[in-house]
Symmetry: C3
Subunit: 422 residues, 3 copies
């Protein structure tokens, strides 16, 4: 995953334009990705698909001709989606177009101006302080022109057409944790799911933030009812603890699966839905209201490197990516295996001993987890409790509960209740 991130890192992405196309092209080398182009001007709900941004170069040269700000040195140096500009300005004239953060004086901040026509540069505070009165030669060699919004979509079909949605945003330029980490984990998930046909179908989106999810929702509205669970994948490489932000519903299957999985994995944090953050904002808007949460390590804005040049390859750790990947897989495993079952011998306990399912010698108090799991599954499989309900109630790992449910099925003591998969 780290290698993919390193390869994608230098590309200057935005919500539209060649950087996104190049990125998706690289992903398509690894997974069967469908790349979609939605023409500028297409109305999508309350929005319109924007024009395409092409950036070729951008710089601020000091009186000696040296590039004191240089897009080629770091693509965060230009305000993303800056309109073209050329001129000769004093520092005083240039200053309103310069963005720097005193709190992190050596880092370049990340700024965007998609929907307001503006131009600007970002630079370290220390470099700004060192700039003389000028005049400066300023150029942004960019274009905003009709084209299309580009996104990628990959469906891993399962036995059921009920879908799990995973969404990663692709609009950020050289920022590694946010969100090349999400892209890399998503690619690895797809590879794993393709290895054997899952029960559920899995749909992955690689889309620009906000306008991408709004566009996808608008174009796919009729098919949204298939989505039974979803996760926005973001910030998955930093060393922070795992965070899960619940869907707007708060008690959807994915919310409960994520809480169970994180609960079994040490330090973590579960947060309630709020209407700010990543594309869960759109998936959980009131007229859409999909059961989509957000799984991350450190959430937006809570790590100092967030939206600065310090969100670079050093911030992203292979072991953090691996742990994030494993967490996604464990959540998928719960979604894959959960279900409501019926005890077929519900009057009194069935005689487990004659089936070889119960310790033969009585009188001891050291009942094992496996035996307890069996008793719990039998006791609560009344059509009103899912295996995850049972695992939570019993305080046992979901995997053990799902395993004994299989054993009990094999002995004709348990059968799936009717109803949809998820």
């Amino acid at each position: 995953m780290k290698a993919l991130i390193a390869r994608l890192y230098p590309i200057c992405r935005s919500i539209t334009g060649p950087g996104v196309r190049e990125t998706l092209g690289i992903l398509r080398e690894q997974i069967p990705l469908e790349i979609r182009e939605v023409p500028s001007g297409t109305p999508v709900f309350d929005w319109v698909v924007p024009e395409e941004w092409v950036i070729r170069d951008a710089f601020v040269k000091d009186p000696s001709g040296a590039r004191v700000i240089d897009f080629r040195a770091h693509n965060l140096s230009v305000v993303n989606y800056s309109r073209p500009f050329r001129g000769r300005l004093t520092l005083e004239e240039l200053r309103p177009h310069l963005h720097a953060e005193e709190a992190h004086p050596d880092w370049i901040p990340y700024r965007t101006s998609y929907y307001q026509e503006a131009w600007g540069f970002c630079l370290p505070w220390n470099r700004l302080r060192a700039m003389g009165p000028g005049p400066y030669e300023v150029e942004i060699d960019a274009e905003v022109k009709p084209g299309s919004l580009t996104y990628g979509e990959c469906l891993v079909p399962g036995e059921s057409d009920e879908e799990v949605l995973v969404s990663a945003h692709t609009c950020h330029p050289s920022l590694a944790n946010d969100n090349l980490s999400g892209i890399a984990v998503a690619v690895e998930l797809i590879r794993g799911l393709m290895a054997r046909k899952p029960r559920l179908s899995y749909r992955f989106l690689f889309i620009p933030g906000t306008i991408g999810s709004i566009t996808w929702l608008a174009l796919n509205e009729a098919r949204l009812s298939r989505i039974r669970a979803g996760l926005v994948a973001v910030n998955l490489g930093d060393p922070g603890i795992m965070h899960y932000k619940k869907s707007r519903r708060g008690d959807a299957a994915v919310d409960r699966a994520a809480a169970h999985v994180l609960g079994a994995r040490g330090d973590h944090r579960i947060e309630d839905f709020s209407p700010y953050g990543y594309d869960e904002r759109q998936f959980c808007s009131p007229g859409i209201d999909l059961p989509v949460g957000c799984l991350s390590r450190t959430p937006y804005g809570r790590f100092p490197e967030y939206h600065t040049s310090a969100d670079n390859l050093d911030l992203v750790r292979e072991e953090a990516l691996a742990a994030s990947l494993e967490t996604f897989r464990a959540i998928f495993a719960v979604l894959e295996r959960d279900g409501v079952y019926l005890n077929l011998s519900p009057k009194g306990e069935p005689m487990l001993g004659k089936r070889g399912l119960y310790a033969a010698l009585g009188g001891r108090s050291d009942t094992k987890d496996r035996q307890m799991a069996m008793l719990w599954v039998l006791n609560l499989s009344d059509g009103r409790h899912s295996l995850l309900d049972i695992a939570e109630r019993a305080g046992l790992p979901f995997e053990l509960v799902a395993d004994v449910a299989e054993t009990l099925q094999a002995h004709d003591l348990l059968a799936p209740a009717a109803g949809r998969v998820l």
Copy 2:
């Protein structure tokens, strides 16, 4: 407010009689008060309107002829509603009719005997201890005779005929916090509401405790369904923290509004309903069950001066009265402005930027409260959440949430859901 309290303080009120009439007459100088007289003997639910109590004088003279207990010196000196008596008694004979509290040896306690025919005196413990064996000349120059129960009512009509009830009891003699403070705050609330027509109608009652509320309820039963919220106003001048005692329902609009307002105002206490206290006992009896809570500073019986001569003008502070008044007004403001709205652009977020409602420059994490309030209102305005629900969920002040709801309405992004006002 303190001036009004000072003017009312010397009057000897009871549940009936001239003291109440004089009190209401003074209030009518300041507000458009309707004064009602309900004849003695009128059946009201399980009760009967009592006779009128007139007290002219009461004293206990020692052998030297000095008034050791003197109604004229303090009207708490006589047990309120004492029946007439005249006699010459030794201390031993008189003792069962004397009430004093050792715990507060310099204060006169407040005692009543409305429904049992009795007479008595109240005096400081230290004065009781100094009394010799007598004999004493004892006289209570009082009368209990057919007349009427007197109460005041003031309606401030609003756009809607849904009503907010505010009730203050008027039966206490020279006790300042309990409840001249409640009367004074109610008068000030009326003046404020009359300044501009409110959305809701506000009905204020100035009634004797227990029998007054029972009488009013019995006479107005057919109109009770208009009352959508209510507050008993009592003990509003002492220096204690604000207390809100919930209505019997526990989750009425007034309960939630009071909790939200107090929650934003520092140290306070919310208590569950209990069937003891002030007239909320009657408003919340099971056959009436109005959504009426009780707003006070220190509740009954929890300040040492309670029901003694130390509940005097010194106990009541102008700044405490002002803070109480402001709390009532803030609760009214929530009741006035709360409502359920519908997001008119519920699929994805509406594009706030093109309406000038969103910060233009992206990438920063310091999203402002106002913008968060807008996102919360949009996200939860699905017909199932009121603005107060949203404020509570978002952890934002109601006022901010109500303000942005107005802004969103002005931009045609929000509209009131159908249904009653409160």
Copy 3:
């Protein structure tokens, strides 16, 4: 109760056989017990009534002819339900059939092998360590043969045919707390209930664990709907604190009554249902789901003497038995007296004073519990709250609340709401 336990202690009981019959015969001397015999081979749900176990003698003799293990010295010495065996074995050959616990080297553990054909001995760890290489003369003079499963049943009829079930297991040999204590308390409860006809009917079962409750349930399935509450009675003589394990429903009348009673009795513990423990496992299986909890002092497996020879007469204290008995009676008292009532004067408070139910002298703040109980009962008797609900809400003892409800009924202020008793 201790005397009964002492008399029953030496008998070698099992799930079937003469030991149970002898035990029930002794109980029948004290209470009107019906003794039932269910033939071996009778199918009961997923089980079959097992054959009868008769044990006459069992020993291990060392080369000198001394009985180093001797059933006659302690009936735990043989694995309960051991199949017959006779042979001459070295220690090495015998070892797999010997059970001892290193953790408690001087105690004999209790082991059973009802459903797997096996034989074995139990002995103190220290005695096992002292055993030489042998050879040993080994004999288990036992028989497993068609017969019947024996249990006892006693119904104390009440005014209503709604039933409270109390179940004690009778299958344990010389173990005093588990469960002769339960048997002794049950006998005492029956004697108390027979002294005056209760409102509810009480059914007591004296049954072997697991197979006994399954047999009884299978034979009485049509009558189970009469059971409105139940308690498994076990471990009632040890010095530990009281424990109540809730029924599977979790909020049944018996769960709430037990929680209220224990809550008023100092240190105790309420636990959620789990599908392991005593016969509540069967009563609370999903196809039966009776409102049956388990009342004990220390639960199974949590006292060191559990299922060893140290669970003897010394462990059981008369004062612990008495306190357990009193707790059962208090729970019965709640079940007997609880109910939903209607306030017949629900508009405002009724005038309690004219009925002599209210303190005559007003103005004091020291309202008494009895008066508060009256106000609570009047306020919440709206057809939706039982007396127990009211006691819990008011924080008052159930007994006081039930007492004032009787007083209010006597004054025609309260009447029972329609509906079933429990």
